[in-house]
Point group: C2
Chain length 363, copies 2
């Protein structure tokens, strides 16, 4: 009998059960080929068909315009922190970064190793419990690009829509923790990147969606594997891709389509988050959110209790009930439930019940 687990991990995180069941079923025999997908050449016809389907389904789900390339790379968002400025920070240029959490801080740190990068606005003063207001923004109208993080997993704050920025400056977004969780207008972006291991699949594959005209800005003589232009020209197959991770990503995309696409999953995500925030807000202060209400993330629900000791008791008791991943990120403490696409509403219902019970006992 499999242990009952409610998986609130921040990434890698819960995957749709139907996806795992299909992967299990065909693990030794992919589509009747007599081999595992892991044993097949990345130059074979079945793998080429798989790559084409993954790209097509990603394009369909996100409404990616024709003038964008989709890349399937390795190294996670952390490697993109470097690849973005290596490819797109012009030699005499400067890049703008909005800093609303740890991931934005990490991104600008890597950019500064490559060239000039400015902070447009930061909410570090209030420990990233909010996003910057429009009037705080000190934009450079001539920036090589403007970078922001759509959802900060650690602090649990999220943009509802793209921040305003100067016309003509390409907008670049680290969308690792909310890609595919809701419809967005891709045409507003120059480049979107995301590690797959939250909403899109297992770890090991990184999505990059790039507007074609930006490929012209890539300097010559780049290291091949770090060169967006070359990776685009080779359809992400310059070398052996992370086949199994791409295959799983493909199953997740099919699952999203079967649910009704991004509008449908967005509605579910809102319901899930609403249930949990309501429990926090109705607790009379026993639980309180870290993020200010209007900036709350639908993906990562961060909350505190009156003491770190009580939070530890809570996390331990939750774990005993099978609730995994409730402890806040080691860098900030507190509690956090990550409720990405594949987190079933039943998990949130169980957590809400547990929170009420815990409050009756300790409140």
């Amino acid at each position: 009998m499999k242990k009952q687990v409610y998986n609130f991990n921040a990434g890698p995180s819960v995957l749709p059960k139907s996806v795992l069941l299909q992967a299990q079923e065909e693990l030794l025999d992919y589509q009747g080929e007599g081999m595992s997908i892991m044993e097949m050449s990345h130059r074979s016809a079945p793998f080429a068909a798989l790559m084409a389907e993954v790209e097509q389904n990603l394009r369909q789900l996100m409404g990616i315009p024709q003038n964008y390339k989709t890349l399937f790379l390795q190294g996670g968002a952390s490697l993109q922190f470097s690849m973005v400025p290596m490819n797109l920070l012009l030699p005499d240029g400067s890049a703008d970064y909005i800093i609303n959490g740890t991931w934005g801080q990490k991104a600008i740190k890597e950019a500064k190793k490559i060239g000039s990068a400015r902070v447009v606005a930061s909410t570090e003063d209030s420990n990233f419990d909010r996003l910057p207001d429009p009037q705080e923004m000190d934009f450079d109208a001539n920036a090589s690009y403007m970078h922001f993080t759509s959802n900060e997993t650690i602090h649990g704050i999220q943009y509802k829509s793209e921040p305003a920025s100067p016309a003509g400056v390409p907008v670049i977004c680290d969308m690792s923790s909310d890609i595919l969780s809701r419809p967005i207008d891709v045409s507003k972006y120059g480049l979107i990147y995301a590690g797959a291991q939250k909403n899109a699949g297992p770890s090991g594959v990184t999505l990059v969606i790039i507007r074609e005209d930006l490929l012209d800005k890539v300097p010559d003589n780049m290291a091949t594997m770090l060169d967006y232009r070359l990776q685009a020209a080779k359809n992400s197959l310059f070398n052996t891709p992370p086949s199994f991770s791409i295959y799983l990503l493909g199953l997740v995309l099919r699952w999203l389509i079967s649910l009704g696409g991004l509008p449908a999953i967005a509605k579910l995500n809102e319901q899930k988050a609403q249930l949990l925030y309501q429990a926090i807000d109705d607790s009379g202060g026993f639980y309180h959110g870290h993020a200010l209400p209007e900036y709350r993330s639908l993906m990562n629900v961060t909350f505190r209790m009156e003491s770190a000791d009580l939070e530890s008791v809570f996390a331990k008791a939750a774990l005993e009930q099978g609730m995994v991943g409730i402890k806040g990120h080691r860098s900030v403490g507190g509690l956090r439930a990550s409720i990405y696409n594949a987190c079933p509403i039943e998990s949130i219902a169980a957590l809400v019940d547990f929170m009420a019970e815990f409050q009756r006992k300790y409140g």
Copy 2:
């Protein structure tokens, strides 16, 4: 009924059946945790235990000395072509490369983008059918490092032991296609790297074994993900690792240990290659090897027939018998059977039988 396949793919390639069966069995429930390994945090206790076991088993199998670090990275050997010179090619230095095939050519091409790199010797004139002789070597005694490729998958030539090189010059080896296929003396190397998808597991994880004193040569201000020193300090967990690929690598390492380690697998690999080369040599010229006999690879057996047309007929007929991956690499043509660790001797026996039958029909 699963189709009978004899998998001769050059990489990704055949995996041990017992490994795939175990992965299948625990795909939804890793060690009773109630989750897939793909759904678990890379900071969790079970994943930490997995990483520790993988490192320990790799060290045991290869006899890796204490003063070496083992890293589990992403991007394949192709990214290592750049990371090696980025980290270890000194600003005023020059690196030496022995070129005995396509992969060596690709490696030096990336190095030249970073700094100065010299060809020590090349066998391109004879289409890489041999390795350079010791007297052809034009070594730089002050090189930052000397790089070679232990096995060239495309041409099917392999070093039996390390090429001689000047004392004090760190030896760096792309061991992607023969790592773990035989015992080696790691202490002779400064750095060994290998994509996993031939002898060590599925694609998506890259092994790096580096002597600790070389970490001191890494320049400051490197892009974090490309910095050997930082990856070593963080035990390859600066960011989310390719969990599932590392897990599969771990199962392959356990399988190797269960077989008796590298001496045992080396003996099997010799028997397998001997069987196939014997069939080529006994064919009276109907089949002939690409590589000169003394340089023949035990991993990739390359052979030709009298015409490309006949080779096409052979490859097509072989495929109809379930023999996958027999066609030579698109860049050189001919025929190739890749017979890595996990390729069972039964596959080679089937191929040898088929070759004899084909010769009776077309010879």
